[in-house]
Symmetry: D2
Subunit: 153 residues, 4 copies
């Protein structure tokens, strides 16, 4: 398959941070599995949910906000309703203005990922949408987010 940007496939044990998201009835599409689009909703719910908890702040009210600059996903196994997805979250790279997360989705009790992806936030001024440095509070929280172990960056 055309795969110009091979992504590592870390097992569940590579992720120190794992968040649970239950699927919803309407996540399933015509083919009886979770629609590909919806996987990205698990990504952005996990990233933003973790950020809110880790910073203890409603990040949406900060003067600088993270907007999504790039995402990707490889779909390895079907998901369905009902089930509880475990979302592994790891830091790939913390830049001046951007944060790159590694993400993997796991079905309950499985070591091999059902999907792997990357999620890139770029921080911008909430009003002007000019690119700005990652806010200090976010940067501090990211200091506590480990990289996925066993991944060749």
């Amino acid at each position: 398959m055309a795969n110009r940007s091979p992504q590592p496939e870390p097992p569940r044990s590579s992720f120190a941070i794992v968040r649970s998201i239950p699927t919803r009835w309407m996540d399933n599409d015509h083919y009886g599995h979770v629609n590909n689009v919806t996987y990205y909703s698990y990504f952005d719910t996990a990233v933003n949910g973790w950020l809110i908890e880790a910073t203890g702040t409603d990040i949406r009210t900060l003067p600088s906000i993270g907007i999504v600059a790039e995402t990707s996903c490889r779909f390895l196994k079907e998901l369905s309703f009902p089930e509880i997805i475990e979302v592994g979250l790891a830091l790939e790279r913390l830049g001046r203005s951007s944060v790159v997360y590694n993400i993997a989705l796991f079905r309950a009790g499985e070591a091999d990922a059902a999907a792997t992806g990357r999620f890139v936030h770029v921080y911008v001024d909430a009003a002007t949408r000019e690119v700005v440095p990652v806010p200090d509070g976010i940067r501090a929280a990211l200091g506590s987010l480990p990289a996925a172990t066993g991944i060749q960056q």
Copy 2:
């Protein structure tokens, strides 16, 4: 920004096939722009809608169906409700079992993309989900889908 897989950014004129999708009220998220997840819904609506028209067939009822193996998107401009998105669709690669599409989203009347992405279908047996060759009818239709002009593959 972390960009390990640079994708070309073809202008609107590179796409022979352009499909229109209006945004919806609920596409906008907390930040007052179309949520990143929803861009992928424009991708899969454009690809599948084109396939249904180009084949003259309800592709969902074929013995072999295309399931999504990989997608990616770079978000270049904000979109919002209400507006009509023009989705450029081009063939990057037609393999034995897989099809890779280049996709770009344009705001009405703009030459530069608001987002660019890739969308990979792999064909599987509808019942067993074993990988199979791209069905003849789909392959024939794809013969009429040009590559985006001016893109270095």
Copy 3:
């Protein structure tokens, strides 16, 4: 069927205002038809899209905004991807602070509704969320929105 609040079922010709919304691939759920939840997205896209056009204003930036207080829908026919839904919009009642819309969804070329519903906006102060009168600009626009003809209110 349990139907304590019988709603009229006006034909397409009862609606002076009709707006088009194409379905999306992911609108279809496990049963191969548009999921019930998504019908309400057609409702709120039609109402808010009409309000933005009719007022010539981005209603989201006004000091008073319409938030949804009540909706209902009766599902009469299945919808699917791909198709273009025609959304009939009519004024049932304009109160001091609230607006009640009659809505009906039609499949292209059909006189009988695929769904009928009601949609109630209550206007609130955008900051405090206290109930306020319908803003003048909105009230003026609603003056141009006819009731559905042939409906017994």
Copy 4:
């Protein structure tokens, strides 16, 4: 407010069955609260999730399936991301072919509902979509679903 079909507002203690659904980042719309459409996704996730558990069956594979004939919702409080919604589920009426559920959404720890609604399933033949009796297995499960206490039907 225009309210032709007053619905009771049972407290959380009226519901013997309560299911938890966490909100997602993209549930919030332009106004920074959960979009009205999404409330109905909580409804149909709760009903179908309960049915699958209570019957011990993947109800989607039965020869008769429940399709949604009518829903309604009154929106009483704003919801947001992140939070865990508690969905109270009760039986209002079990007919020959239809089932009417009372539903209420509660914010964690609150006794008063954030939304109340009704959800009506009609059972149809999965192939022909002709109305059929409620399947025995579903009917048996519904025997264990109490009505909301303290509601005047």
